[in-house]
Each structure stands twice: as C-alpha cells, then as structure tokens.
C-alpha cells in the first residue's frame, strides 16, 4: 500500500487528511493522481489545477516519479510559511 497524505486547503477541500492506495494503482505519482481524481468531483478539481505539489518520503518530486510499496506520498498546495 501507498500511504497518501493531504495538507492545508487540499486537506480541507477533500475532507480528508490521508488515505491508502494499493501499489498496483500507483506505479508513479501521475498514476496515483489519476486514481485519486477518479474518486469524485472535488478530487478531480483539486488535482486538475496544476498547482498541487508532491513529496515522496518527504522529498519533493515530479509527476513521473516511480513509487515503491509503503512509500509515503504527500500532496499539498504551494507553501506559505515564514
């Protein structure tokens, strides 16, 4: 399983702080996104604006990043700390 986390307005929009997705649905970050977007309209919208960032095991990655079983994948909007 891939452990998936959502932060900030993405978490609020989806009404979810995280979920688990089978590894065979998510060979890459792009696959995982496609899987999540199939879960409903709010999911479709949240991931289609191109602004969502992704970190795999706490490191920023692009959509073509390959995923391994038990990876932690986080999706979040552009950061606004400091």
């Amino acid at each position: 399983m891939i452990r998936v986390l959502f932060f900030a307005q993405l978490r609020e929009t989806l009404g979810s702080a995280g979920t688990e997705v089978p590894h065979d649905e998510s060979a890459t970050v792009a696959d995982l996104k496609a899987f999540l977007m199939s879960k409903g309209d709010s999911w479709q919208q949240a991931f289609s604006n191109g602004k969502v960032l992704c970190a795999v095991n706490q490191t920023m990655v692009q959509d073509d990043e390959k995923l391994c079983d038990s990876d932690e994948v986080a999706f979040f909007p552009p950061v606004t700390g400091g």
Binding site: L5, P77, T80, G81, G82
Partner: protein
C-alpha cells in the same frame, strides 16, 4: 540549531546563544517575521500555521546545509512556529553569524527565501470580520527564491 515549535521564542536568548563564547564571528544578522495586520489586502487578526512534521525539519536541515556550503558561516539558528498566532506575534527567526557581514546577510536572505518557497508550512488567516482563508503563495517570494537557483 533548528526548531519547529508551538511556543514563542525569545530573541534576546537566541542572540545570546549566537554570540556566547564566540570570538570569531564579527557579524551577526537576524531576521524575525511577525504577524502583521494587513496581508493581500485583508485586515488580519490572527493566523494558524500548519506543517508537515515528518518533512519540515528535514527540509530546514537541508536548507541550512546548502547555506553552509555556499558561504563561510559560523553559527546558524532557525526557529519556525506552528499553531495559532495573533497579531504582532513572532512567526520565524533566522540568525547567522560569520566573519564577514556579506556572508551573514546573503545566507540569512537565502535561508528565508528558500524556506518561504520550499519548507512545508501553510498559513490560514483570520480576518477581523471573522472569516478564515488560506494564504496564496506569493509571486514575489518565488522571484526572491529564483535568484539563488
């Protein structure tokens, strides 16, 4: 020294820790970011800072390492608060000491610019009318960060 914490920090103590027993560093540069009353044209009363705990310290460590590899630095301290903060409260502290002020200034700016665009913190503001909204990422911050890339 890197900390992510809910509690406030004391600039005087942090400054003391930068200079105590330190006879090498001729220059100390600090930055403190505070909750201000206006942001993106809205009057702000408070904000809540969320972060991604497993990732935050890792990113901050990495940013500090990058700064140390670019400039000749002595001590570096970085504190970022999370949770709810009201008007005029301290959000972030960066301090850098060095033999030369040019290095200390450049590194302090680098740390803030990269932190603002890469460290996983998110701000939700409360306006005086009581509504809440997530802060949009700032184009100015992206430009400030790009000069280091």
């Amino acid at each position: 020294m890197i900390k992510v914490q809910e509690s406030d920090f004391c600039v005087a103590e942090e400054y003391a820790a930068m200079t105590r027993g330190n006879t090498k560093a001729g220059a100390v540069v600090f930055f403190v970011g505070l909750v201000r009353d206006f942001n993106q044209n809205k009057k702000v009363n408070a904000l809540t800072l969320e972060h991604y705990p497993a990732m935050t310290e890792q990113v901050l460590q990495d940013i500090v390492q990058q700064a140390r590899s670019r400039w000749s630095l002595d001590r570096v301290r970085l504190i970022h608060r999370v949770g709810r903060l009201t008007l005029n409260e301290q959000i972030v502290f960066v301090a850098v000491s060095s033999q030369h002020r040019e290095d200390a200034f450049a590194a302090a700016q680098f740390l803030m610019d990269i932190l603002k665009t890469q460290a996983p913190f998110w701000k939700k503001e409360e306006t005086e009318k009581g509504d809440e909204h997530w802060v949009d990422a700032n184009n100015k911050d992206t430009i400030s960060a790009q000069r280091w890339l």
